[in-house]
Symmetry: C2
Subunit: 381 residues, 2 copies
């Protein structure tokens, strides 16, 4: 790389001559998390007309967005109000172009691109604490359902690599704006579990975080074809290559948003295989059309065909006792709140007893980390 070469050449040649040259400008630091948890973002863009921050998850941003000021040195800078502890995705928008922070190595992947990420410490339950840590691996696998290589992330708890024992397995699905990296990066799943396990609050478990999109075009993808990938390829791969328990009571599945609907699709078609089901900020969200162009959208409802296709399982009384937990959580401000409630009502109609927590907040990673931290301790008890 020419950058590397330059550094070394500068180092080799430059030391003796340093006194003869003007001092280089101090490096531009971005992001900078201050002691009071304000975050400063900076970018060098001397020719830019406008710089903004795209960061939906960071709360306390002023209406109209964070205002950047341009310094005489071409550095644009803006500082937030104090931010709650957590991991946040962001990008600059420079003259309309989305720009990953050129001074930040920390990123979180989405389905179609990447975000910069800033981690604001201060919440012990998701910080990298002085506890034993697990490992999160990237695994390539050949999907027979989709006919191509795919990737999944797998969390193994502290001690797993020494080779002893079998573990229960928790399948954890991401949302439409994510890929299989998201639960690890912005979701901090590994750290959350490390902390829960160290405190004795959660059982050591393997967490499988598969890729949920079956297309790279964006939008909602992966319904029927995803169920096939999951059941034909992901689960068999995990059960063949990892020391996981293979009975129903040792299997959990949960997901957020699109992943919550996939969780319902998979688990309600294979209810004999899962004892713990979690749906975060989601439900079976329908795709009903407005009655006429311009008409108001209809109230959320589970599409009747979804129920019809799964009746044999939904109404099978033999499968109910083995279902240890059917857990929903959605925020009051979440645009899928109606779908959550409609789905819960539908499941109750079929004799299920879903547990529902309605929280504050909306459709953001702020909530999904909290939901994972609440859900994981309930598993495999």
């Amino acid at each position: 790389m020419c950058v590397r070469s330059m550094w070394i050449v500068i180092l080799l040649a430059g030391i003796g001559a340093a006194q003869d040259r003007p001092a280089p400008p101090p490096p531009v630091v971005s992001p900078e998390v201050q002691a009071d948890r304000k975050v400063t973002f900076r970018i060098v863009a001397p020719k830019a007309q406008a710089v903004a921050l795209s960061a939906g998850d960071i709360l306390n941003l002023p209406k109209g967005g964070l205002q950047f000021t341009k310094g005489a040195n071409g550095v644009w800078e803006a500082t937030t109000e104090p931010v709650n502890p957590g991991a946040y995705r962001y990008r600059f928008v420079v003259d309309g172009v989305p720009v990953v922070d050129p001074r930040n190595a920390l990123i979180s992947e989405s389905n179609t691109n990447v975000w910069s990420m800033v981690n604001v410490p201060g919440a012990e339950w998701m910080d990298a604490g002085k506890v034993p840590h697990g490992a999160v691996a990237e695994i390539p696998y050949l999907s027979s359902a989709l006919g191509r290589y795919r990737r999944m992330h797998i969390y193994t708890p502290p001690g797993y690599e020494l080779g002893k024992g079998k573990y229960p397995v928790f399948y954890l699905l991401h949302g439409a704006g994510d890929n299989d990296d998201a639960w690890t990066s912005v979701g901090r799943a590994g750290y959350i579990l490390d902390n829960l396990i160290a405190a004795g609050k959660a059982k050591p478990m393997v967490i499988v975080m598969p890729a949920g999109h079956t297309s790279t075009a964006g939008g909602i993808s992966g319904m029927d074809d995803y169920t096939k990938d999951f059941t034909q390829d992901v689960m068999p791969y995990v059960e063949k290559h990892y020391r996981v328990l293979k009975d129903r009571k040792s299997r959990a599945i949960a997901g957020l948003s699109m992943g919550g609907m996939q969780t319902l699709n998979i688990s309600m078609s294979h209810l004999d295989q899962f004892a713990y089901i979690g749906v975060y900020s989601s439900g079976v969200f329908g795709m009903r059309r407005p009655a006429a162009p311009g008409a108001a959208a209809p109230a959320p409802a589970v599409p009747p065909e979804w129920e019809q296709q799964r009746l044999a399982m939904l109404d099978n009384p033999k499968l109910k006792p083995g279902l240890k937990l059917l857990w929903f959580a959605t925020g009051k401000d979440d645009f899928l709140l109606g779908s959550t409630k409609a789905t819960i009502a539908m499941l109750e109609k079929h004799g299920f007893k879903p547990v529902y927590e309605e929280t504050t907040g909306g459709h953001t990673w702020v909530n999904w980390r909290i939901y994972l931290n609440e859900f994981a301790p309930k598993l495999f008890r």
Copy 2:
């Protein structure tokens, strides 16, 4: 995330009304690898005055750089000549601002930021082939030497997670422009080893890819403090948490550029612990000053103090028989070629018998992947 919300809202609300709206423009695809291995890069930047590509590793780029043309739709586009198979880092430079490709989820991390990455398939030895695949894990560990959390990547070969047997261990260090992700992303170490192991050409082994920088400021870092982090923290962590063999003949170490010098620093201070040593595009690169400002740089030479500090080990005849391989490879066009040769001469003076391969090419990942593919089969025989 507001992006996710928008997608779902569009999906929920938009289906019925699609006929009433103009069709959206086709999505901008970037990068696009064509059948003849030409690569097209595209970015939407209607307000930009100038767009360029920063991509040191992609060969066959025209002198003066790839010329972008701006379409009427605000999309800038450029296409390379056919590119050799391999993984390549790149960024756009839009009006002077380095921009990670907004349409590409594939990235490779550096010490201070991230690169977009394009993978040009066609070289079986580093493609994701239909062979059993290992796992590459990210591991947080507390460095007592540096007083903070650090990360390493660890490759475990196919079958490791089932829990049987112990494996030899290969420590593989990155360069100054990288972080511990680099050997996995742009270096394709996991795929290279998967293919070698499947073909019976390399022994199954654990590969530890630690973080080499001890500062985030860029430049060359991590000499004495890095040796401390490596020997006090990285190696003990691996030997405590993984099923690895702990004798000299089951331990290898190699590195590229900065990592090659770190490899020499560590191995020549702990020669009793390593049987296989690889130095890619590197040597002990000196930091001698020019005689006077403006004078020509002196010929590369190993600093005498480097030898002095290690004389007891360099000249200990008892340690030589257990050293199975001391392997150097550097390209003819590599700016560290002189350092490689000076280091080899120094080691020969102390009775070592280094193996040296002088290859074509320069200081790039194109060579480092090849070197790994040549070096790994020689290990643990």
